[in-house]
């Protein structure tokens, strides 16, 4: 009996010849696989960013309202006008506060999920963290408006437990409070923390999961009480996760323009200004300049984080 290893005659089919082309040529294979996403990223993503950047160097003619397509730094100068700079400062402060709060709230949750939860409990954890992301962002923000409203469940609960004076005291804090939580800066903060918390929990949990138990035991073995193990071992090893999470919470807060519109005072945040400038006001160059602000802030943020060694344990 003879064994036929290859077709006796003729060329192999096209599909096989295409396979032959990439097998053993890893560079060709990588190019074929990467070309579509690279084209998408290059044209649609980087391209639009470049267009944005270019717009920010134009200015608007104040009489005609038309864009003057000449290079100028005047639009950037406008960012430093007191009213505009105030918006930037308020947004950055809010983003920083939201990031800090998310980190503090997420840590114990992520720690529990990484070190103790197993099997079903772990599945339930993922579900609980992800579940809010399944429903519309708008619905959730409106839900919070109802929760925080003067007629809402928090006011009701405060009254039922006799905590109304406490709530009033909180609402009386200048700069944070207001007539009710739903129209206060504190309300905006609460909604932001709620919205972005999953984006902090998940990377933090992933980072903590990678810390072997033996490393924590080694720290205890070498004389460190739990507090110092946390300070010298857990925190530095969690830092890449905290950094990744904070990039989400920080940049998402910087760019959001819907939540503060629904829950909060009537003062603007960065995203809202971009929205208003490019829409109602039709000042595309100023909108573009405002959009560059979060990019620059995130760039600085990452530089500082790297300088502080946030990515050393990656």
């Amino acid at each position: 009996m003879t064994v036929v290893l290859a077709p006796a005659s003729g060329r192999p089919p096209l599909r096989d010849r295409l396979s032959d082309l990439v097998v053993g040529r890893p560079k060709v294979l990588a190019l074929v696989l990467l070309a579509p996403p690279l084209l998408w990223l290059g044209v649609v993503y980087v391209g639009s960013l470049a267009a944005l950047l270019a717009q920010s160097f134009f200015s608007i003619d104040e009489f005609t309202g038309l864009v003057v397509r000449e290079f100028t730094l005047r639009t950037y100068g406008e960012l430093f006008a007191p009213a505009n700079f105030d918006i930037i400062r308020r947004t950055v402060l809010m983003a920083a506060a939201v990031t800090l709060a998310c980190g503090v709230i997420a840590f114990p949750v992520a720690w529990y999920a990484a070190r103790y939860a197993r099997g079903r409990v772990k599945a339930a954890f993922y579900l609980a963290v992800m579940l809010p992301l399944w429903s519309s962002y708008l619905v959730r923000v409106y839900a919070w408006k109802l929760i925080l409203a003067k007629e809402g469940v928090i006011t009701y609960a405060a009254a039922a437990t006799g905590l109304t004076p406490v709530l009033d005291r909180v609402l009386a804090i200048p700069g944070l409070g207001g007539p009710s939580l739903s129209v206060s800066t504190l309300g905006t903060f609460i909604v932001f923390v709620y919205l972005w918390l999953p984006f902090m929990i998940l990377p933090l949990q992933a980072a903590l999961e990678r810390v072997p138990r033996s490393v924590l035991e080694a720290s205890a073995d070498l004389g460190a009480e739990p507090r110092r193990t946390f300070r010298h071992v857990v925190l530095p090893l969690a830092l890449p996760g905290l950094a990744a999470g904070s990039i989400f919470t920080f940049s998402l807060t910087l760019g959001d323009y819907i939540a503060p519109q629904i829950v909060g005072t009537s003062t603007y945040y960065l995203g809202q200004v971009v929205y208003v400038q490019q829409g109602t006001a039709g000042n595309i160059p100023l909108a573009a300049a405002f959009s560059v602000v979060p990019i620059v802030i995130m760039g600085l943020y990452l530089m500082v984080a790297k300088r502080l060694g946030a990515f050393d344990a990656m």
Binding site: P212, S214, E217, D221, A224, E225, L237, A313
Partner: protein, 346 residues
Amino acid sequence: MRPLDHARLVAETASMTTAVRFSGVSRHFGPVKAVDDVDLEIQPGEFFAMLGPSGSGKTTCLRLIAGFEQPTAGAIEIFGRHVEGVPPYRRAVNTVFQDYALFPHMTVLDNVAYGLMIRGIARKERRALAEEMLALVRLPGYGYRRPAQLSGGQRQRVALARALVNEPKVLLLDEPLGALDLKLRGEMQTELKALQARLGITFVFVTHDQTEALAMADRVAVFNAGRVIQVGPPEEIYERPRTRFVADFVGGANVLEPDVAARLGLPRGPHALRAEKLRLVAAGDAPGGPFGTVIDADYQGATRRYRIAFEGSHLASVLPAGEAVFRVGDPVALAVPPGAATRLDG
């Protein structure tokens, strides 16, 4: 106190009676009796091995000494001090972990100096001590590398230095050589033994490798199913195993059931017989028997290993390669020299 004055430390501790004492110690995890009613005494300055298969309770015993586990019952003393309920960070013992557990975000030097930093020793002084320790484990000048840049053997030395720099009264080693290749393992065995002799610190060493335990330890405790089966010097464990388990686990001796033992001319009861003590003679040269049949023959360089079918059981015999050569199927006469077999308790 001079930080590395080990001689004085040893002199201090040697005057006390026992380094580690277990009295009726149990550690149960639900229905699982990981450690079950164990009594142990480890002497100061001793190189003590805890030997057993995985799941035999040896590692749990080590973790009980370190403080990572608390006993369900019984008492543990370290140099006369009761340590039940004492957390790991308040015990004068240090551990070399199986996976080394080096801190990945620190340099080698900071790893070694960690315990000193926790104790509040000034940066300059602790760095000098850590350097000194790195030199002791033959890694001078490696201080500014990261653990990830080191080989397995080097990491293990760092783990050793990190533990020893704290001058522990007892050093615990959890399968420290398990992750190393064969050649490196041999070198580290010699090195560890020399280091222990030089420092005089009590070493408690967990391993599942009987050759390692026999080669390194002053005394060996053989564990099985959460209990200590036999404790003694390596020679005693090897030459005079008390149970079938010890005979089989330590060096794979032939376990002779009473009827087989009787056919080989041994007294009543089960016996252990080392493979190298079972002599084989060509059937024609020993007409009296007893006879068996060679069913397997392996050439191993210096020796030849035979498997013999005898009275319904299989026996192993290891002979110097230069002696008479048998082939599979050859009838052979079996001879047990006087005193070669050990009576087993059960």
